[in-house]
Amino acid sequence: MTEVLPDAPDVGSLPRTGETYNIVGTSPAHHDFIEKVKGSLLYAADWRLPGMLHAKLVRSQIASGRITRIDTSAALALPGVVAVLTAEDVPYNQIVENASGGLGEVTVSQPVLAADRVRYAGEPIAVVAATEPEIAAEAVDLVEVTYEETPGVFDAESALADDAPLVHEEGNVLVNWNIVRGDVENEMAAADVVVEGEYQSQHVEHAYLEPESGVSWLENDVVTLRISTQVIEHATEIAEILEVPESKVRVIASYMGGGFGGKEDMTVEPYLALVTWHTRKPARMVWTRQESMLASTKRHPFLMRYRTGARQDGTIVAQEVEIIGDAGAYPCLSARVLFAGAALACGPYRVPSVRCTSRAVFTNNVPSSAFRGFGAMQVVFGYESQMDQLASKLGISREEVRDRNYYVKGDTIPSGDEITTAVAVTQTRELALQELGEGPPPTASHKRVGRGFGCGMQPYGRTIWFRDHASAWLTLQTDGSLLIRSGVTDLGAGQAASLCQIASEVLGAPLESISVYIGDTALNPPAGGTFATRQLYMSGNAILRASHDLRDQLTGVAEDLLDAADGELAWQGGKVQAGGRSLTLADLAKECQQRGVNTSNLYTWRAPGGKFDPSTGQGGTFPDYTFGTHAAEVEVDLETGQVEVRRYVASHDVGRQINPVRVEGQIQGGAMQGLGYALMEDCPLDEGQAVSTLFANYLIPSSMDMPDIQVAVVESGEGRGPLGARGIGEPPVGPTAATIASAIEDAIGVRPTQLPITPERILKLLDEAGSAGAQTGEEQA
């Protein structure tokens, strides 16, 4: 269901095309979706080139140590093996992320192929290329690596100890963010109540169904890669690694079989580039699922410590937050993830005095990096648990304590940044709870039912000091068809399709007549990667403005031909109309050609920039936020600890829906990923070694594990995306764990603080609360 907020105030300078839309707000199926249901869409592993080699990585067996010898002779002797490349074969063996944008993270580089040291189990050491995949796999087993193990550190908090083994000489702390406002000591001391809590999240795997994959070839001496990636701009790093000019590397992104942040860092790219560069042959690399489980980046486990001080009426006066994130062995995007955690650590609540420290810490675990929610999702479990604790301590309702503290438009977040659009979190909560209603009583005497909710706040768009920009290029052809060229990559969420809808809305070109070419560093203007829920915001704004500009370019000719007055033109259905007369876009384009009027427009949209000062912990952070509330009803088996999620509602203010079916789909899928995170998913490590790399043992929810996700959309009409839309890619994953924990607490009277909330942990909680033993012992089946 959808609720439109009445009297949504205008959002300043954001262009609008008027209140009613023809294409925006409908849910047409775009071309790529037709190919998807036919099965004909070509993903990254679906290309085959003449003479193509199959590349495969030799990965470290140990988590921490020195490589004393690499013997490739047996592998090279295997017929069919064409190359075995090691660190020596990498022209520039370094990947430098600098994810914070120079705001104080330690500079540590990651080798493409480990040369002397290995820092996590699964780290690439050599790449093998062979004529057949089976031979490549055999050859990998024949590469002999001899190690000398060194002590490692496998837990972020232990890595902070003075005598902890160093993962990198530069120290174990990658970055330490501080956000400070007000006088926390005094405010806390003066608070009527103080609640404290410690919360722990786990390593989580993206588990997109399409493993990391791609192909590479040489074309006109340009190393060309067609990859399942969110970020084609890695072309720059690939050129650096090969020590060739950037102009000699081209990256094409295929439509992805899921990304979720896991294809934001490079995966197969540098290895494919190396193989093709050295052998001059096309190559393909597809990580096995087990490789992906072992060595692909994970969501950061966060250890979060909260202290919250409030007045008797529930008003928060001060909050102290400490976040320690396990970055694993290399920096990747940890610095930014931990920044988002710090900036959002207080959630959608006004907190006058704040002290938040957030550190990314190196360990000899698999590297952590971007994953849907990007640091801002882990902290929801912390701040929402604090709110519930506060409510019970003060004896007021969970709703009331939140109502006292919700942000309103114009408030500033702890870093001092102002919230400039509507905060409709209350509406999302009311809707979610209303939809949830109250279900039937427990189905057995050893079961308990509980209901709960959680609110969340997720930024969209890059941190503003990156001065983000995106370009889009539109061309109206003389037959009236429209070409969109944009460097966006498509994760499967309809990124390309949304651009078509916006252009269609403005120019009146029917969707069938629009072709969109995306994700190619050679042929498309850059759009930046698809991450941080930024593409609708960035490229959506770029395409909106390009469409308006193109329309303006064409308007003079159209007015002339139609003999129309200023502002009289209507652009719709492939035609321009005025006063009963009409003109097809094709005729208009032809006439423009005749008159030498340009029918293309290349627009670069720049997001507002800003500065953050890491020394004061104050400054600009994110362009805007998406708010939401989830609500759940669970049934807990007191004897086995199993939790059944009976009903689940997710509500978000999406600003404006460009495509309602896709919005709903994003919310449902995000909530499901959140449910897996809350209850099932974990990648346990034992001294840095994965306990299992089987997909069978990584528990993403199946169709039988969770209920239907009900969606309740709020449209405040305010957002910084095109036409007032807000980003919705990441937000729905955020509130889930807190929501489930809150429902479980309602059912059993104890609050889970460690994720995932496994049946075993539920029993432990019940034991600790002392009530379990008696109940399970006495109750009859």
Binding site: D32, I34, Y43, A207, G257, R289, S702, S703, M704, D708
Partner: protein, 166 residues
């Protein structure tokens, strides 16, 4: 050393030379060139390699190509040839937004199509049960089950009005 085999795929015979350890998945995807049969795990867990063998869903990743000579194999692309219009079940997927990244879609469609033939009156829960081995990381399943339910309704309606079987 390779073995000569003959596979019947989507009604067409193919002659291939494969190693004995070539999975049916790799033979279909790489040797015959069918992008709708996909590697997702190689463990039988995810369902992206689902194909029909004599009209029953199987794991192409857990069958060797040399074993598949005596069965009729159907993949999603066998449901429609490229020029033909979509199968009604595919239309339901499209209309309900049941595909996001689309990687799981072939397996979802094939598995539910077989269920529709066996039990078009399957409940929502029974549909979910049948699809349990077809994982989806994008949609949260709700829209997939919606799409399949709608198609089952169409099949029942057709059956009651004596329409053809498709």
């Amino acid at each position: 050393m390779k073995t000569q085999i003959f596979l019947t795929v989507n009604g067409e015979q193919h002659e291939l030379w494969v190693r004995n350890d070539r999975t049916l998945l790799d033979a279909l995807h790489d040797d015959i060139g069918l992008p709708d049969v996909r590697y997702g795990c190689g463990e039988g867990v995810c369902g992206t390699c689902t194909v029909l063998a004599d009209n029953e869903p199987i794991n192409a990743c857990l069958t060797f190509a040399v074993q598949a000579q005596d069965v009729a194999i159907q993949t999603l692309s066998g449901l429609t040839n490229a020029s033909e219009e979509l199968h009604p079940l595919q239309k339901c997927f499209l209309e309900h937004g049941a595909a996001q990244c689309g990687f799981c879609t072939p397996g979802m469609v094939l598995t539910s199509k077989v269920l529709a033939q066996r039990n078009p009156s399957a409940t929502r829960q029974e549909i979910r049960y049948e699809l349990v081995g077809n994982l989806c990381r994008c949609t949260g399943y709700t829209k997939i089950v919606d799409a399949v339910e709608e198609y089952f309704g169409q099949v029942r309606e057709q059956a009651s009005t004596g329409g053809g079987d498709r």
